[in-house]
């Protein structure tokens, strides 16, 4: 029960050195950023290291930051150590032109659908995923709707038929 954010940060810094950056603790959850080619190494270390023991992938999703040039897409992992009951959040950033990130499906079966969903909505290309196809949207779709360049419909538009759309 002695695992706390400081020990996690120390253990990780000892192993990976200065490549892990942007250490924060918003609302008590340790958050850090890793280079995108390191994501599997970090996940594997967090999984294997007996003192850390982060073996439950709670959640995986992406965020789009159109203003961060070269780092437009962030893939966010939420991990949970169920024994010590500690959660951490860790992010990798990737550019939007070639959004390749290694897939975590070999480590976590649960990442399968979550990565498909992330691909579906943000276009993050998970290298090594066994079946990276769209999951919630139609297969014919040729864009990634959760990116910020697709705004929601203008609420003030008047060219729609009220009877059909009820407004």
């Amino acid at each position: 029960m002695s695992l706390n954010n400081d020990t996690i940060q120390q253990t990780l810094t000892q192993k990976f050195g200065e490549v892990l950056t942007d250490w924060q603790e918003p609302y008590g959850m340790l958050t850090f950023t890793a280079p995108k080619e390191m994501n599997l190494k970090v996940l594997q270390f967090l999984y294997d290291e007996p003192t850390l023991n982060f073996r439950f992938l709670t959640d995986l999703q992406a965020v789009h930051y159109p203003d961060k040039k070269g780092q437009e897409l962030a893939v966010v992992y939420h991990l949970h150590n169920l024994v010590d009951n500690v959660r951490i959040r860790f992010k990798v950033f990737t550019d939007i032109i070639k959004p390749d990130v290694f897939s975590a499906t070999a480590l976590y079966q649960s990442a399968n659908f979550m990565e498909r969903e992330t691909y579906d909505f943000f276009g993050v290309n998970f290298t090594g995923h066994p079946n990276l196809i769209r999951i919630l949207n139609v297969d014919e779709m040729d864009y990634f709707p959760m990116r910020k360049e697709f705004p929601l419909e203008d609420q003030t538009r008047v060219d729609k038929d009220d009877e059909m759309f009820g407004r």
Binding site: L57, D59, V76, H78, Y108, F113, M114, I135, M146
Partner: protein
């Protein structure tokens, strides 16, 4: 998708059969599809397809002010919408740093546990229906009606409740609500006991469910199972205990766990959880009754910037009018921050990942839907089993289409 599948040795069939189970098959109880490759009645391979009722909730949430997102959460797991609503309120309250009075916490526990009961009773009675025992369904379903009447008394609606507000409830619980609650507490245990007598040691039911759709604890964790389905496999993970919210730490309850993770254990765990929920409601109700005088009128936190003021104040007080206008027009900026908060939903850990950049609506909101995550284990659970076992596995996992497709 249709790789050629060879028949196993010794099969008397001439070829495999492809069967579309869903999207509108009556046995799926929801809109999702499973393409099953069959050798006679034995399943060789299952492929799941979801997304038939995708409604773009995460995109919608990026334009709405916080309080307008609550009705969206209703439509995730519509069998227990109040838990989703409360989970969302709790997330917002953490972000906005709103402290709730104890009475509100206990009232919320009553509502959340009622909806856990209504969730589990549907799931368990449907397991009964799918294994051929229809009467249990009829026995329990009338009690969901009693629960819905309590919701109705508290918030005015039944299925998609939109119950509560950020900072508390929209109004105090009426006396009728408590009378209805007492009626439920007095009558439900007897019926639940009868339901258990019908099923728990029923030879036919046991034969149909024991060893069907089983999963080991290790696989379940790897597949991201949470909630009753994980506990049936023997892992005592419960958000209410691990990360207490809404004063669950003040109450006494145990986490029922199973052993084998099959349909029978899932059924038993859900039944046991209903008993625990009943005891939680009783404890919380007792604590609510301890508040006397002015304290017994408290039903929301004191946070005028986010909690809609009472209508009579709006007409008579300047400040209330200003806040009313700002809240209704969604003109209150929310603090910047990044937050993951979760509650124990009917099916497991229901998480909200909220990023705010200081604007009026979230920059990004992601729902961790437990159903969506554990549904990917379905092909593995049914492989090698019979077709009728797939149906019963589906209902005992409690797959809710609304939660699959946010």
């Amino acid at each position: 998708m249709n790789d050629h599948i060879l028949l196993p040795e010794g099969s008397i069939e001439k070829q495999t059969t492809t069967l579309n189970l869903g999207p509108t098959h009556p046995a799926t109880h929801g809109v999702f599809q499973n393409i099953l490759e069959l050798d006679g009645e034995r399943i060789l391979k299952a492929t799941s397809t979801v997304g038939y009722i995708h409604r773009a909730f995460e995109k919608l949430a990026e334009r709405r002010p916080l309080y307008q997102i609550t009705p969206i959460t209703d439509r995730l797991n519509y069998c227990s919408s109040p838990i989703n609503n409360m989970g969302w309120h709790i997330t917002c309250e953490k972000l906005l740093d709103v402290k709730l009075p104890k009475r509100v916490d206990y009232l919320r526990i009553i509502i959340m546990e009622l909806s856990r009961i209504s969730d589990h009773l549907i799931c368990n009675s449907i397991v009964g229906v799918d294994s051929g025992a229809y009467s249990g369904f009829l026995y329990l379903m009338q009690f969901r009606e009693l629960i819905y009447e309590i919701y109705e008394e508290v918030c005015g609606s039944r299925l998609t409740t939109n119950i509560g507000r950020i900072g508390g409830f929209e109004r105090n619980f009426t006396n009728t609500a408590f009378v209805k609650l007492e009626k439920f507490l007095a009558t439900y245990p007897k019926q639940l006991k009868e339901f258990e007598t019908l099923f728990n040691r029923n030879r036919i039911f046991m034969e149909r469910t024991i060893g069907v759709g089983a999963i080991t604890a290790e696989r379940a964790l790897n597949y991201g199972f949470t909630g009753p389905n994980l506990r049936a496999a023997g892992v005592d993970y419960d958000v209410r205990v691990h990360t207490p919210y809404s004063s669950y730490q003040d109450l006494e309850f145990t986490i029922p766990v199973g052993k084998t993770g099959d349909c029978y254990d899932r059924f038993l765990v859900r039944n046991q959880e209903m008993w625990q929920s009943l005891s939680l409601i009783e404890q919380a109700y007792k604590k609510v009754q301890e508040f006397k005088g002015a304290e017994s009128e408290v039903f929301h936190a004191d946070s005028p910037a986010y909690y809609l003021p009472e209508k009579k104040d709006v007409y008579s007080k300047m400040e209330a009018l200003i806040y009313h206008f700002k809240i209704v027009m969604g003109e209150t900026d929310i603090p910047a921050g990044e937050l993951y908060s979760s509650v124990e939903g009917g099916n497991g850990e229901l998480g909200f990942y909220l990023i705010s950049d200081g604007g009026r609506s979230p920059y990004r909101l992601h729902f961790r839907r437990p159903c969506f995550i554990y549904y990917q284990a379905f092909p593995e659970l049914v492989q090698g089993g019979m077709l009728s076992d797939a149906v019963i596995t589906m209902s005992s996992l409690n797959l809710i289409a609304g939660e699959l497709d946010a």
